[in-house]
């Protein structure tokens, strides 16, 4: 997963929960083919949104605490956080347009 910044169990609070604006976290793992499918869509989405939404990836193998805390049992799962709260959850691969639609950002 190329250009996205990674977040870990250790940095989650600072990077996600205490962040100012919305943060979309992609829970993924290297062995998961659909996660690789999602990656380019998400990178394009992140590039397009720029500063409006922070997009981070979390490797569920290396960071089991946050995966457990948020009950992630299927990957890829994307969770949108605002003010430390989960606002929305998208399970499975979606393309960039669908992602925008589900997050209410299209049109």
């Amino acid at each position: 997963m190329g250009s996205l910044q990674a977040v870990t169990d250790a940095t989650f609070a600072g990077e996600v929960l205490e962040a100012k604006g919305p943060v979309l976290v992609d829970f993924w793992a290297p062995w998961c083919p659909p996660c690789r499918m999602l990656a380019p869509q998400l990178e394009a989405f992140a590039a397009e949104q720029g500063d409006r939404i922070k997009v981070l990836k979390l490797n569920t193998d290396d960071n089991p605490a946050m995966s457990r805390k948020y009950g992630v049992q299927s990957i890829p799962t994307m969770v949108l956080f605002e003010d430390g709260q989960e606002k929305q959850r998208i399970v499975g691969v979606v393309n960039q347009e669908e992602l925008k639609r589900r997050l209410g950002l299209s049109g």
Binding site: A29, P34, M37, G71, V72, Q73, S74
Partner: protein, 305 residues
Amino acid sequence: MNAETRNVVVVGGGPAGLTASIYAGRFGLSPLVLEPGFPGGKLSLIDRIENYPGFPGGIAGAELAERLAEQAREYGAQFQAVAADAIRQEGTLIQVATADGEVAARTLIVASGATPQRLGVPGEREFLGRGVSYCATCDGPFFRDKDIAVVGGGDSAVEEALCLTRFARSVTVIHRRDRLRASEVLQRRAFAHPRIGFRYSAEVIAVEGGDQVEGIRLRDQQGESFLPAGGVFIYVGITPVTGFLGDQVDRDGRGHLRASENTATSLPGLFAAGDVRGKPLRQVVTAVADGAVAAMAADRYLTGN
């Protein structure tokens, strides 16, 4: 955006679409493959494929998929990471609408595959990603030391049940018939496994839980019961992906595209290959065979033979 008219556009980059591209590429037709995700389709999600000829001991689905894609590229196939949203006929051409604009195709090979069928019971949708899954290869590691239910009785269900035993404490296969439909070799392996159990003639009526799945409600001859399970993996068949075709191509009674032996459909110039078409055996080996035939049929259509 795509002013150029393509000889062959292939919708879908699974085994059928990739093989169609290999053959079409070798015919010199410079195929364009529309695949919004990852080349390989459902094949990429198969842990190990054991019945693909030429690979004794099996091969990882993702590896076979990557090899097919590489071979297609070798013969000049181009890939565009976009979905086909709709088609319309324009004279002898088929225009394919995508998020990147329209693509004009002289022939269209539809290899859009199929998606997992839902059970359609309460809780299934709500617990998606919180214990309900359609992909053991993807989600198995999240169910370490849990009791898991696998719904279905075909090859996929039994294969995935076996795959899940690597992680799970126990796996219970729930099938609505009184015997499995899976192939003999898989059945034997599953029966011999100490941590796989079976519930026959049982119907899932709901997936239940709190924040996560806690179990499923079943109905069988004894009445209703609750089976505790930390995860539910569903393999009850597949639904062909044909929405983008509207009502322009004939379907069979189960919604698959009606296609002849040479993959021709009711729409001239449109050929159907792989899981999207009606056929007696849905396997990677029949998908690749369809793909080859579709490329030949497209070539003949283009040259007027």
